[in-house]
């Protein structure tokens, strides 16, 4: 009885701590969203208030939105943003202003005008799609070669592959840059997508584990029926490993979407930028205007967040698998 009571108490305390922590983890998200929906002068005056607000003035018994322009002879000059006199200015006593909840989409409009989102999105999606195609195709072929075809040397190749995972990208970065420069690939997407067609050690490792789980008798039966290896790969192994291939596709997509260093090295002009480079440059120009910055960061993060929610099970499974390797 005593133990049950103590256990109950523990759970209550844990629940309270978790609630507090979830607020801490969620605050940056809430703040990003609310800042992106705030009127510019409200961001400055009250940046912690999570509810976006704007200034209003009572007129003929209802509230009309106004924009404060400045102080003139002790009176606050405001501009009507609605009602019959929209656009006209009027001096008022500052204390008459009322702050009321209001969602302002101006930051998004301004952001989309200054930030060629669709072009960057298009560039990013092309890179993502080709990387996904290349990675899924090459990794699944190689994994078949390493898991389903018995041959001398496959263990060696596998261990060589695993040991290359220790090499930091900084070591290969410079010679690859020189190589791609000789090939005339600078300022094209080729350096970002071509390597994807030559396998990825980690994903090959994952797929190999998965392929080894496929019963050998199934492959043997197909072989007896006269199917060649390519056919067995395409008709049996690949369809059976759909969940694993989806996981590889998902993580490749997200990695390409988020990649920063490679596009930074290889993409030199504005027309070629991906979202991550575009957003970085946008931040350089809009350093002080938080509204559009938050709006555009949110727009860049949102597809990935949505994708995460849609594929949560696969996603978490993949993260766990990445840890199993240890």
């Amino acid at each position: 009885m005593q133990r049950d009571k103590r256990r109950f108490l523990h759970v209550i305390v844990a629940q309270a701590v978790l609630m507090a922590l979830s607020l801490v983890f969620a605050l940056p998200f809430i703040w990003m969203l609310s800042t992106s929906l705030k009127v510019p002068d409200h961001i400055q005056s009250d940046s912690v208030d999570p509810i976006p607000k704007a200034w209003f003035l009572p007129r003929h018994g209802r509230l009309v939105r106004v924009r404060p322009l400045g102080i003139k002879q002790g009176r606050l000059v405001v501009q009507w943003r609605g009602g019959a006199e929209k656009g006209k200015t009027v001096p008022i006593a500052p204390r008459r202003l009322l702050s009321r909840p209001y969602l302002d989409w101006r930051n998004y409009v301004e952001g989309f005008q200054e930030f060629p989102f669709l072009r960057y999105l298009g560039n990013t999606l092309v890179i993502c799609a080709l990387s996904v195609l290349g990675t899924v195709l090459s990794c699944s072929l190689v994994a078949y070669g390493l898991a389903c075809v018995p041959w001398k040397g496959r263990e060696t190749l596998f261990w060589v592959m695993l040991s290359t995972m220790m090499i930091p990208g900084q070591v290969t970065m410079i010679p690859l840059f020189i190589l791609f420069r000789h090939l005339g690939w600078i300022n094209t997407i080729l350096p970002l997508v071509v390597p994807a067609f030559f396998g990825n050690a980690f994903f090959i490792f994952l797929l190999r584990q998965f392929y080894r789980g496929i019963p050998v008798s199934l492959l043997e039966a197909a072989r007896v029926d006269g199917a060649g290896d390519l056919r067995i790969w395409a008709r049996i192994v690949a369809p059976l490993s759909k969940p694993a291939l989806l996981m590889v596709a998902l993580f490749t997509f997200i990695n390409s979407w988020n990649d920063f260093l490679n596009p930074l090295i290889y993409l030199l002009n504005d027309r070629k930028y991906t979202l991550s480079i575009g957003l970085t440059m946008f931040q350089g120009q809009y350093n002080t205007e938080w509204g559009p910055l938050m709006a555009m960061s949110l727009v860049m993060a949102l597809p990935i967040i949505v994708l995460f929610f849609l594929t949560q099970k696969t996603f978490i499974q993949g993260v766990k698998l990445s840890g199993v390797k240890g």
Partner: protein, 306 residues
């Protein structure tokens, strides 16, 4: 058909030998990829590191001069120190935070799926978007953190300058990295759920208190995962780049000039490719040594149950 039947073994061996063209054909993308995108660049990088190579003229062998210059380069040592500071704080703190979250969630609380999703969500946000977001959150005047500290009653004069202060810029980036501790949490939680319940029951029978159960049962049982996240975290932290590039540009007063940032600058703004390659090799050797050291140390602490 048994494995030790000599005829079967022979047939299997012959079949094995005959199948190698097929196996190699399937593995060809990997073989070419390893040669072209790993072996060749690694070799060339070692060669360049022994060369003077301003990008517009061909590399010229100069022996160990680049490495000797590194030893005398104060910015090299500074970047090493900055990176060391960041890694030594961000990795252990992130692991402890992730482990604490996992232990809390492992208490069979209600809403586990919700909490797990929420804590994991920051790791999904693209790094560039997080950087832009945290740049504002860490703003000393109107940022969320300092507004919050003032709200809690801290005098305005005491609130840190975060990214504008030489002292606080690294802690600021470490704080930002802690927002992403949910990645480790998912792994720890999975490991915790695999710890056999009998061990706790046995420990409880022996009169072990909660603290002892954590120290003598839980931690040893999940130590392989701790080791793995520690090594991966270390490798990641040593390569920290985008945060400094986007948020601080290495400042203020080069307090966030991390190793990778200096390497990138040396290669792609100063175009000293030989010198930058030498830096890359120093990093590579350091990562290898650090990993070996952690593995060696872990022999004493990590418990593998099979």
């Amino acid at each position: 058909m048994t494995d030790d039947d000599p005829v079967t073994v022979n047939v299997a061996r012959n079949a094995r030998l005959r199948r190698w063209p097929v196996g190699l054909a399937f593995s060809l993308p990997l073989v070419i990829g390893l040669l072209m995108f790993t072996a060749y660049p690694v070799g060339m990088s070692l060669y360049y590191s022994l060369c003077s190579y301003p990008i517009f003229s061909p590399p010229r062998l100069i022996g160990w001069a680049n490495y000797q210059e590194l030893l005398r380069d104060p910015r090299f040592w500074l970047s090493l120190w900055n990176t060391f500071y960041y890694a030594m704080a961000a990795v252990p703190l992130g692991m402890v935070a992730g482990l604490l979250l996992a232990l809390l969630l492992n208490l069979k609380v209600k809403g586990l799926a919700f909490y797990r999703t929420l804590f994991f969500l920051p790791t999904v946000v693209p790094l560039v978007a997080s950087c832009v977001l945290w740049n504002q959150i860490l703003n000393p005047q109107q940022g969320l953190i300092n507004e919050g500290l003032r709200f809690l009653g801290l005098p305005a004069a005491w609130t840190p300058g975060w990214l504008t202060s030489e002292t606080w810029s690294k802690p600021a980036l470490i704080l930002m990295s802690l927002w992403g501790c949910g990645g480790g949490m998912v792994l720890y939680l999975a490991a915790l759920q695999d710890v056999p319940q009998e061990l706790y029951e046995a420990a409880a029978l022996d009169g072990a208190r909660a603290w002892h159960r954590l120290w003598y049962v839980t931690l040893p049982m999940i130590s392989p995962v701790l080791l793995f996240t520690g090594i991966m975290g270390l490798i990641g932290a040593v390569q920290v780049f985008a945060q400094a590039f986007i948020m601080t540009g290495g400042g203020p007063a080069e307090s966030t000039l991390f190793y990778s940032l200096k390497l990138f600058d040396t290669a792609f703004t100063e175009f000293r490719l030989g010198y930058a390659s030498a830096m890359a090799w120093v990093m590579f050797v350091f990562i290898l040594l650090a990993t070996l050291a952690v593995m060696k140390l872990s022999n004493r602490f990590v418990y593998y149950h099979t």
